[in-house]
Amino acid sequence: MVRPSRSYRVFQGINGAVLTLVVIVTLYPFVNIIARSFSGERHIRAGEVTLWPKGFDLTTYDIVLRDAMFWRNYGNTVLYTVVSTVIAMTLTTCYAYVLSKRHLRGRGVLVGIAVFTMFFTGGLIPNYVLITSLGLKNTVWALALPNAISVFNLLVMKAFFENLPSELEEAAQIDGLSTYGILARIVLPLSKAVIATMVLFYSVSFWNSWFGAFLYLDRTELMPVTVYLRNLIAGATGGGNAGAGTEQLTQVAANIQAVTIVLTSLPILCVYPFVQRYFVSGVMLGAVKG
């Protein structure tokens, strides 16, 4: 190994500084929002809140956490995520398995039907017209069905199935197992890793989505929590201020957005450290193929 030169050590120093700056710029907004969510109204208005709470105050948390609509919307998010993910996993797994069979007649066409939709889509208006005329508005199906297959996820799964050793399936076939049996009893148990990754991909994207709900759901009690937050940001509602006294209102107005941002991102922030690597490996899997 050659001894690092002086200029290289300088470069390493600068590199370290730049990356530290990247970390700070990425994290500071979170730190500031959290500090703001616990701060008193006067300190927020004066722009004094930076890294930690000033004039500690829990009024807004208290009010948002006692708001029935907030919890209802949170429940909706959980429900919509579970239903949508189950449907998406079923359809994606079935189709990916079919596409992974190289001997299958018409396989190229079946792949083409899926891949073409990556480059050309119907667009917002025809989709809106379709969902409306199917009578799916104000139901969970308007959110789940149109997003049942992500072609990217489909290709990742297909690549995974293609790389499974074919001997096991052939042996099972000789033992008289049907295609359904092979899929359920041989292939799926071998695919736990990719299934876990796909469940994560789908559930995070459904959990985070808001526009479908905004477009197709009309009533507040049907909204997911992302739309609850969106309405707060857009100033469309006063948020959970029902039952708040007048002196509480100024406090709530000052940091209800910060409080709601903290409360809605909390679940993602909690699971993030544990699931991050599955995401990375899933993307790699797709990149090798795609």
Partner: protein, 308 residues
């Protein structure tokens, strides 16, 4: 095969008999693609037909190019078209190269733990809902937020960023970088690990310094990844972050913030001019398709890398 049609028919019958269970698994997914992907594509005919809410999704009667002529003569359309080009161009210029630079910097970090930490932190914004990202952006830029706080240190008056049209593009691109730069490094970092160490060794023996090694070994090593992502970025050039703009803009910033997709959303869904909005949407989708095909052909001819 002497008689291709008979042969094909026979093998299709054989294939169905042999693999009917596999084909049966494809039925529901195919139904999904048909109803939720291909029907809306056909539904674009309402761009050329009169449409009545509650009527057929394919419209009532042909009106020819009336709606196309309508938007081509609409000054607001040209304004949102210009805004789209501006925002698309700025996004491409900033959001495409920054992950490459970041990946190269990360690649030079010799401490594994430090590299891991920076990566984990920089991926984080990618996992948050766009609503949360928009909420954070607006909070950072509010008159009592940290950005104005920083400006205050330099004796600057607070700026009402969110109401000023001249700030919108900066805000949009900035928030896009914050959200996507870290995650964008993943594919480059993967490509960087595949570069053979012998190439660096050979370059060193030839007397290349570190910059020359980056220029002659590292960059060519990640070139296929760069080009693939560039083609994809060009293909989605017009499809600028619709949801984010919808969350960040307001009537005061329409002069710079309103783009094709937000405009067609407002005319279509909010004002019920479905055919008019569909015509604009079709225009955008066709340009998108043309862009990606052109970029793909160009890159196949010039550098030999292409998506298909």
């Amino acid at each position: 095969m002497t008689t291709p049609t008979v042969g094909a028919r026979r093998t299709w019958r054989q294939a169905l008999r042999r693999d009917w269970q596999l084909y049966s698994l494809a039925v529901l997914p195919l139904l999904f693609f048909l109803v939720f992907r291909y029907l809306p594509m056909i539904g674009n005919v309402i761009a050329f037909r009169r449409f009545e809410p509650g009527g057929s999704i394919f419209g009532e009667e042909w009106v020819g190019l009336r709606y196309v002529e309508m938007f081509l003569g609409d000054p607001t359309f040209w304004q949102v078209f210009r805004n789209t080009l501006w925002i698309g161009a700025l996004t491409l210029v900033f959001c495409f190269p920054i992950p490459i630079v970041l990946a190269l910097l990360l690649n030079e970090v010799r401490t594994r733990a430090l590299k891991r930490f920076v990566q984990s932190v920089s991926y984080l914004p990618h996992f948050l809902s766009i609503v949360i990202v928009a909420g954070i952006t607006l909070q950072m830029l509010s008159t009592d937020g940290p950005v104005n706080h920083l400006l205050g240190w330099f004796g600057h008056e607070p700026i009402r960023f969110i109401q000023e049209p001249e700030w919108f593009r900066t805000i949009y691109v900035g928030s896009e970088i914050w959200q996507t730069a870290g995650w964008g490094t993943i594919l480059y970092l993967a490509a960087l690990t595949t570069i053979d160490d012998d190439l660096y060794e050979a370059a060193r023996i030839d007397g290349a310094n570190r910059w020359q090694q980056i220029w002659h070994v590292t960059l060519p090593g990640i070139r296929p990844t760069m080009i693939t992502l560039l083609i994809l970025n060009i293909g989605t050039f017009l499809a600028v972050g619709f949801e984010k703009i919808l969350l960040l803009y307001n009537p005061l910033t329409y002069p710079t913030a309103d783009v094709i997709s937000t405009y067609l959303y407002r005319t279509g869904v909010e004002s019920n001019s479905f055919s008019y909005a569909a015509a604009i949407g079709l225009f955008e989708a066709v340009i998108g398709l043309v862009l990606i095909i052109t970029a793909n052909q160009l890159s196949r001819r010039t550098v030999g890398t292409s998506l298909w």
